[in-house]
């Protein structure tokens, strides 16, 4: 199964309808995904604040837009349910959520392991600036016969202002005994030591912050398999970051 890219807050034809051979960006996040034996799904979700939308036409090349793929404005909440129902099923999820101004956004994932020997891996990174409120709820449920499940979930949050807020609630419900499950959540502000290192090399505070933000989003963008797409998205996101 091909990797799916979903971007919200980016009403850009060029991103949605890329050149031949470059994977398309989906308009919306599927609500439910079921993975049977040996099925794999890799999903990259990027939620940009409406105000940080880069100017249209910056990303080449645009083809006539698909009327089905209406510009996705950022919804207040998104949720995704994933069911792993057969051995060897694998789910990979990388998400990046940016908030600024008075943005409110919450993301919920529910990953259910219903069979033995399946794996799931989720990385969710949020950057909250302005007065924004971002939240992530992540439930991993491992059913009694889902032995040898491997389920990972990492939630990293960055607060850019004193008035921004993030809430993260990782939850594990495990009913099988032979599993490898972990979840971790961190919330912090930009690292001063890192900032000082850059400033001591003559990088202005403003640029240092921008490089730090790029470094923070890197693990999500790095997950984009198609190289051309990855480069495009990296510069697209970089532009959104500079508006935070």
């Amino acid at each position: 199964m091909k990797q799916q890219l979903v971007i919200y807050g980016a009403a850009n034809d060029g991103l949605r309808n890329p050149a031949a051979g470059v994977p398309a960006v989906c308009a919306t996040l599927p609500e439910e995904i079921t993975l049977a034996a040996n099925e794999e799904c890799s999903l990259v979700l990027i939620v940009l604040p409406e105000s940080a939308k880069p100017a249209a036409g910056r990303l080449a090349p645009a083809t006539p837009s698909d009327p089905e793929a209406a510009p996705a404005t950022t919804p207040a909440e998104l949720s995704l349910r994933v069911k792993l129902t057969g051995r060897g099923a694998a789910f990979r999820f990388h998400a990046l959520c940016l908030g600024t101004g008075s943005d409110h956004f919450s993301l919920r994932t529910e990953v259910e392991h219903l069979c033995p020997d399946a794996s799931s891996d989720q990385l969710i990174r949020c950057i909250a600036g302005g007065n924004s409120r971002l939240s992530f709820d992540g439930l991993i449920k491992v059913h009694p016969d889902a032995q040898r499940t491997q389920a990972l979930q990492t939630s990293n949050n960055l607060l850019l202002t004193d008035t921004a807020k993030v809430a993260t609630a990782p939850q594990l419900e495990i009913y099988a005994d032979d599993v490898k499950c972990s979840h971790g959540a961190t919330t912090g502000s930009l690292d001063e030591e890192e900032q000082f290192y850059m400033r001591s090399r003559g990088i202005s505070l403003e640029k240092a912050r921008l490089l730090q933000l790029r470094s923070f989003v890197h693990p999500v963008l790095e997950a984009v398999e198609d190289e051309k797409r990855r480069e495009e998205l990296t510069s697209f996101v970089a532009e959104a970051l500079s508006a935070l």
Partner: protein, 247 residues
């Protein structure tokens, strides 16, 4: 010879604890100074205070760099003025390539001092020239800043950055720590090649090792936040023999 750095009666605290207790030091163009001392003497604090690291508070004294009040400047302004600190523990920045990092640093600096941006060709030529100085392989600069680097690679990257930024005063904080003999030689040779009669270095170290390669004009013993003795390079051997306890 012009004076580059004038530290007068410097007192500094970290988290309320006084670490520097009246340190004075003058560095002129062309000079190499070694600051030696036991752990906890205040060596790294000196480097941190001079470069404006947050969390270090100067409670008394003054520092002039090229006649300007260094302590009133932000860390980036100090860099633009020609000061450089090679970190004892260089920071890893995954997702930011060395090239991107240095392009940003040079562009900020050139903008600040009123110079036009380097063209891509000029940047590449400069990068190539400076990489040769620290015997860096071309693929190195494509890597992310210090991410997953060995100790030796990190220090080599510090000296490479120093070469690119071309500072007038370089502070080398424990640059020899974590280096094997070969890496030490490469790093020290890089530093020596960058030295000119217009530039100066402050080499902070515990050991004689690095000073076998970077030969100092002056050696200062820093103990309990003060310089207790300043002599010529012959002091290095004496320290090696007697230990810091002997002073």
């Amino acid at each position: 010879m012009n004076t580059l750095l004038e530290i007068h009666d410097l007192h500094a605290t970290v988290q309320g604890k006084e670490i520097l207790k009246g340190l004075s030091l003058t560095v002129k163009e062309g000079e190499v100074h070694a600051i030696m001392g036991p752990n906890g003497a205040g060596k790294s604090t000196l480097g941190a205070v001079l470069t404006g690291k947050p969390g270090y508070e100067v409670t008394a004294g003054s520092v002039l760099f090229k006649g300007r009040d260094l302590l009133a400047m932000s860390p980036e302004e100090r860099s633009w003025a020609g000061l450089f600190l090679s970190f004892q523990y260089p920071v890893e920045i995954p997702g930011v390539s060395i090239t991107n990092f240095l392009k940003t640093a040079l562009s900020c600096r050139r903008k600040a001092i009123g110079l036009p941006e380097l063209s891509p060709a000029e940047f590449l030529a400069l990068r190539k020239e400076k990489m040769a100085l620290v015997q860096m392989k071309p693929e190195f600069v494509k890597r992310d800043v210090n991410a997953g680097f060995s100790g030796g690679e990190k220090k080599r990257n510090e000296i490479f950055q120093m070469a690119m930024l071309d500072p007038d005063l370089s502070i080398l904080d424990e640059t020899d720590s974590g280096l094997d003999v070969d890496a030490l030689r490469i790093v020290a040779e890089g530093v020596n090649k960058l030295h000119t009669p217009k530039k100066a270095s402050l080499v902070i170290t515990h050991y004689q090792r690095l000073l076998d390669y970077i030969v100092p004009d002056f050696v200062h013993i820093l103990k309990d936040g003060r310089i207790i003795l300043s002599e010529g390079r012959e002091l290095v051997a004496e320290i090696e023999e007697k230990g810091y306890e002997g002073f």
